[in-house]
Symmetry: C2
């Protein structure tokens, strides 16, 4: 475990661009190290510069290929790029799936690129907790762009991805579009749509369906509306990738001009603060099996003696009183 | 909205077996009605009788068919069966997918069967909150068995399903087993495995893989170990369904004899109480955009002036002081 001087030193080395220091800091975050508050305090003054881009879509739409192509495009501009690949589907075994990481290997030896897989490790609120903190590490370490890539299923991914400055939703033709769209409450958080594998049959139909959906959708966000663009790509051949970067830049410029970027970042910070505060409050509940007030209450609820709302009221009073 | 006398009346009518009263109560739960505490208090004395069976598996393994077959088997014994079909994949649009519900229609006119789809409706902790409360409604209404069916992806489903008295994990041959298994931290919560579509090629290989996995897996649960059985079925033809029911009964008898049932129900109650208590505490944080302490803190964190842990500490102090 890091000693006090180590944390400052680690942060300094991460800011100098040493990948091992960056990796070490993210590990401290992922493992919910008791030094986390100290790490966060050392990072804070250096944060707020990175552009955070969320990228999501169902399995098979070409997320890894698209991420790799975007990394190449940002690198070509001389920007440093961090990638956080989030896989929340394995809450117990704690191992992120790296099956399709092959295409990222071209960037593996580039010191301007840092790639990290995030798994949930089973602890409650794992992703909602760890991902923004890992983001802070990359931000403080001077990465210009951070791509957060998730599989587009499940509530936790939506929560994670909705914290980005800009969210890109990937689709592909002929993936059972009806169900895909119905499932995808995730579409409602898209700032940029990308229809990948656009050389396949049905690409135009997918674009048409999206246009229709956008026309139906209300966004209910403050201020003037952003017109969500739809970009066609064949990421495996790099086709259309420049158009995607252009759309991302346009959204960044738009959010900056309309105060939306600041709103989103405040919302992200608010969500982080709440997650940490709730974890602290939850830790005051104590072990549900250790003879605690919580265990007593749980037994009475299981026996039908009191209801869970009355029990929760007792628990809140108990926590607040301490 | 229900008046005070209505709640008691609704509970009485639900206990008499009136499906519309049951449906109404679940709606009050799903919509997080302000009357929820009152509803819960009225239900509590009548809870604790239903057997709660969780059923999960990836799309395509035959969950709906298997659920329908199990419903038929329990009905043949004269037991009343409730089904909660949980679809957390659509946190924004709030509509559960009913595409494959066709096979449940044979039970649609049976008064001894109550089927309900649960969607998350976008509110935080939606499923973790609403599903156990809907369970309480069905329990109090006198259903002998409640089947909770979820799609086997994502952390929130694992949380929901892990609250069952008995958890049944469905697989099918040739579904990309390697990845299926790797993804499935969910396998670690299985009390009974069912390999459905067992007339297909690869069924024996799937059984073999499962046996291997079980032999590797440590369960880390208190008390003597339960030997997780593997049952082969062809649910569409009703083959093997009696064996599944037998395995479920065996697990029920085992958990009852070893105090595990009580432990699980206490754990379920504990999880419910905590979810409600956390929601109450969170509500004290206030609106992150309303000029609240939280908003002030979020703006300072977004600006890099303080770190989120220091901000969370302020927030906790603020909440506890009130």
């Amino acid at each position: 475990m890091a000693r006090t001087s180590d944390v400052k030193d680690l942060v300094d080395r991460a800011r100098e661009g040493q990948p091992r220091a960056v990796a070490r800091l993210i590990s401290l975050v992922e493992d919910a190290s008791p030094r986390l508050p100290e790490v966060a305090a050392a990072l804070a003054p250096h944060t707020g510069r990175a552009r955070v881009i969320g990228l999501t879509g169902s399995p098979g739409v070409g997320k890894s290929t698209s991420t790799a192509a975007l990394v190449a495009a940002f690198r070509a501009r001389g920007q440093r790029v961090g990638v956080l690949a989030v896989d929340p589907s394995s809450p117990f075994s704690g191992g992120a799936l790296l099956g399709d990481r092959v295409r990222m290997q071209e960037h593996a030896t580039d010191p301007g690129v840092f790639i990290r897989s995030m798994a949930t490790r089973g602890h409650l609120g794992g992703l909602a907790w760890a991902t923004p903190q890992a983001l802070r590490v990359l931000d403080a370490a001077g990465f210009d762009v951070v791509l957060v890539e998730t599989v587009g299923v499940g509530q936790s991914e939506v929560e994670v991805i909705s914290l980005a400055d800009t969210t890109l939703v990937l689709l592909a033709p002929g993936m059972g579009d009806g169900i895909q769209a119905a499932k995808a409450g995730i579409l409602e958080i898209a700032d940029v749509f990308v229809v990948n594998k656009a050389d396949r049959d049905g690409a135009d139909a997918t674009v048409r369906d999206l246009k229709h959906m956008i026309s139906l959708g209300r966004r209910d966000r403050e201020g003037p509306a952003w017109r969500t663009p739809i970009v066609k790509t064949v990421a495996a051949r790099g086709e259309g990738v420049e158009d995607v970067v252009e759309a991302l830049d346009a959204h960044h410029a738009w959010t900056t001009a309309h105060g939306e970027l600041e709103r989103r970042r405040t919302r992200r910070a608010s969500s982080e603060i709440q997650a940490i505060a709730l974890a602290r409050l939850r830790s005051r509940f104590g072990d549900p099996t250790g003879g605690t007030v919580l265990e007593q209450l749980a037994k009475r609820v299981a026996a039908g003696e009191i209801d869970p709302f009355a029990a929760a009221e007792h628990l809140v009073q108990d926590v607040v009183r301490r």
